[in-house]
Symmetry: C2
Subunit: 480 residues, 2 copies
């Protein structure tokens, strides 16, 4: 009887989905989805299912959010569905797709012209269905049909992403039953827990449309979480990595009372200590403190570097052609340029079914171009709420990232006052220590925290093998 | 008049040298020195001056210390003369020669047979005359003609090295005028300051033979200095690099009163904390905590690694042939094996003029084969004495080394109570932060301390470009 009822419920659900789908498809804009069989730069047909499309959200669906969807190469019916966001805000999800977890990436031996694509190892889509979303509006290929539509903030964007997800699932009812996870890195640390909370309470209340999202949990890498905690932890982090001296650190700690963010409101001595610290960190690559600083915005009085920078700014193709694969890996900023060259190619846009005239120059990270207000200063409260649910969370930190240091991340996790379920221990891949992990619980809630040894800000860019092993285990409910 | 007197003094000095040389050369053993024009594995003539030889020291010169001498490729007359030691004790100086500062090294694309040699970048012999010495006896190709000769300790070995240096200079009087430095890394941190002190006070007292060594200072990299301080600093180091948790570190600090070396003499809680710490660090590469642990002695329950290890132990040539250059760089233990294959080749020994029958199997590090007593537990007192002289010192630390962590090195330097002359600041190579440095003085004494960012235990093996830039500047009396 119970089974029959369940089957009936499933049928009803599918029908509702179908109905909503038909309803929605009456609007030609909202249903835009294309199956992509080939991609410029990739030889032959793609050996995985790739779909791109737009979903209209907000008032009159004036905001058109662009996505890339890759089906799991194992079992798309049984494997989890993950909605993945990138940071910035303003960074295109194509960055996550190419440089983190997607099935293809650029051949780093670049000889000019259109960058070529190749299959890559450790792609998460081997075992996960992933929707890569360009959000907030203005990011990647997402756009607005109205000028007002571009003005957004953390709350509005989180709501739009949730709306996107519901509509996407209505269009893809076959994924309604899959375990659903929301994930992302860097600035996604703000919207992800907001969206997760929205989904969770909505489904408890019975939201509209009643979709019964099969939400299981969330994943965050080096997540921006609390503007104060994150930034403040850079000083102890820099000390631990011996970028500032013991003496200066002790002085700053005493003079600033451990608050380095509001240094100018503290004593003059504190302000001067913090200035000295900033000077010491000026030329450090904040994303991975051991990598060279390859950005070409910082004015370093070094002729050799200046020449490189000029050449890069004036003729990136020529510049990149001269670099070896090794340099590209070491200077992620250079490797990133390939995505810009690729995504601004006319054939590529056509292949991706990007609507003509909706987007000017594509930037990997459209940081300055967004009309975005960061009005959620901390998402810790969301994490605290979620820790009272039956969800599960995986939070990981590349331990050489100074932009969102693991120290701050551990600090806010500790502030949730969870129960330590598994004590700090090494986790391994291929017989080597890949990092350290501990696990917390709170009744049915479970949070796994892990460091990725030697990784920078977006950990999978630095340690793809380790990160995929971690993700795969966690999604399969194994211990790291 | 003063000039004439100086010239006379120089002449006298040269004559004394010549006289002593004639005296010494009557013993055929003691004068063994050969100019090496070609080396097996290197194509054509060597484009640098290489000399090898033995110098007999100790009673009846029963201890025969082997050396490799490379003349500066800039100006051997004006450039400094450096006596360089390696660590262990028991590691051959060929390791420093090939993997650190010498002009040639192995081609890491290994296809079996005799490893091939190639010129390398950032060789210190571009601007320095370097004597690479196999010491203490039993190390590399150094040997003893008597069984008792092999029994040695820190004091005896330091005295023998000093005796070596005097005799070598008597044989090479043309280098008596050069600025003289003693240097080394790792365990050399014990003998180097001892030898420097011997030379310094001997020349003050007017030792015999009266050689007027032109001693200027000393250089040490990640030096073993104080058994207690060095080892104890591993725990705060591991915490800083987030290998152990904040909670465990705080607990250990409180329970052990900051003394992790004598944990078993402390509380039970301290002992258990330290055991937990050791467990967390068990599979970490102590030489560079971010590198994989490629040693094949540690029994890790991982099939893939075990297979590698078995293959390596049973057939190193085949094993190495399968590895790429990248793996060799990443797994220094594998790269080291090339030196073993090379130095145990019959043609190589002949080319180096190694005396037949004096040496069995050559080990890069003959750690277990030495009859050596480490009886100097700390060389801090020597550093303290030297800080009252007019000498100069350069101490550097690869900041990712956990075997002799920079934390301990900075601690003993601080204990010398010197005056801070230049405050902690970044030092640069090629427009990038290569590390941090500060400078101390004590009247005429000057000590430069520097970290090498991202480097492991023997820093030049990891960061050759940065280390050579640092050395070159320091030897030229520039600021880093």
């Amino acid at each position: 009887m119970a089974e029959a009822a369940a089957a009936q419920h499933q049928l009803l659900l599918a029908c509702t989905g179908l109905l909503l789908l038909l309803l929605v498809s009456s609007s030609s804009v909202a249903t835009a989805r294309s199956i992509i069989k080939t991609l410029p730069g990739f030889p032959g047909e793609l050996p995985f299912y790739l779909e791109t499309g737009y979903v209209g959200v907000g008032e009159n669906e004036s905001v058109q959010l662009f996505y890339y969807f890759v089906k799991s190469q194992r079992n798309p019916v049984l494997d989890p569905l993950v909605l993945w966001l990138t940071g910035g805000p303003g960074c295109s999800t194509l960055s996550a797709f190419f440089y983190e977890s997607g099935p293809v990436s650029f051949n780093l031996t670049y000889n000019g012209g259109l960058p070529t694509l190749e299959l890559k190892e450790y792609t998460w889509t081997e075992t996960l269905n992933i929707i890569y979303l360009d959000a907030p509006v203005g990011t990647g290929f997402s756009y607005s049909t109205t000028q007002e539509g571009y003005t957004t903030d953390d709350y509005k964007s989180a709501a739009q992403i949730y709306e996107f997800l519901k509509k996407w699932l209505i269009q893809h009812p076959e994924f309604l039953k899959n375990n659903l996870y929301i994930g992302g890195d860097s600035y996604s640390g703000i919207p992800v827990p907001m969206i997760v909370q929205d989904i969770y309470y909505d489904s408890e209340r019975g939201g509209s449309p009643r979709l019964n999202l099969n939400l299981q949990g969330y994943v965050l890498g080096n997540p921006v979480t609390d503007a104060y905690i994150d930034k403040n932890s850079r000083v102890p982090f820099a000390h631990r990595l011996t970028l500032i001296s013991d003496g200066l650190y002790e002085s700053a700690k005493a003079n600033c009372n451990g608050d380095y963010v509001n240094a100018n409101a503290s004593s003059e001595q504190c302000e001067s200590d913090v200035q000295e610290i900033e000077e010491l960190l000026r030329d450090i690559n904040i994303q991975q403190i051991l990598d060279p600083d390859c950005t070409f915005s910082s004015p370093i009085p070094n002729e050799e570097k200046s020449n490189l920078q000029r050449s890069l700014a004036e003729n990136p193709t020529d510049f990149l052609s001269q670099l070896g694969e090794e340099t590209m890996y070491f200077c992620h900023d250079y490797m990133y340029i390939l995505s810009e060259t690729w995504a601004n190619n006319r054939d590529v846009r056509e292949a991706l079914h990007v609507r003509e005239g909706t987007k000017g120059y594509w930037k990997r990270c459209n940081i300055s171009g967004l009309a975005y207000t960061e009005d959620v200063i901390s998402s810790v409260a969301y994490h605290r709420n979620l820790s009272k649910t039956g969800l599960r969370a995986l939070i990981y930190s590349g331990d050489h990232d100074m932009s969102v240091p693991h120290i701050g991340t551990q600090q806010w996790i500790d502030s949730l006052n969870l129960t330590l379920a598994d004590t700090w221990r090494a986790w391994y891949t291929e017989g080597q220590v890949a990092g350290y992990t501990k696990r917390y619980t709170n009744d049915d809630f479970a949070l796994t925290y892990a460091t990725v040894k030697g990784a920078g800000h977006v950990a999978p860019e630095y340690k793809p093998q380790q990160c995929y092993a971690m993700l795969k285990r966690w999604f399969a409910y194994y211990q790291l």
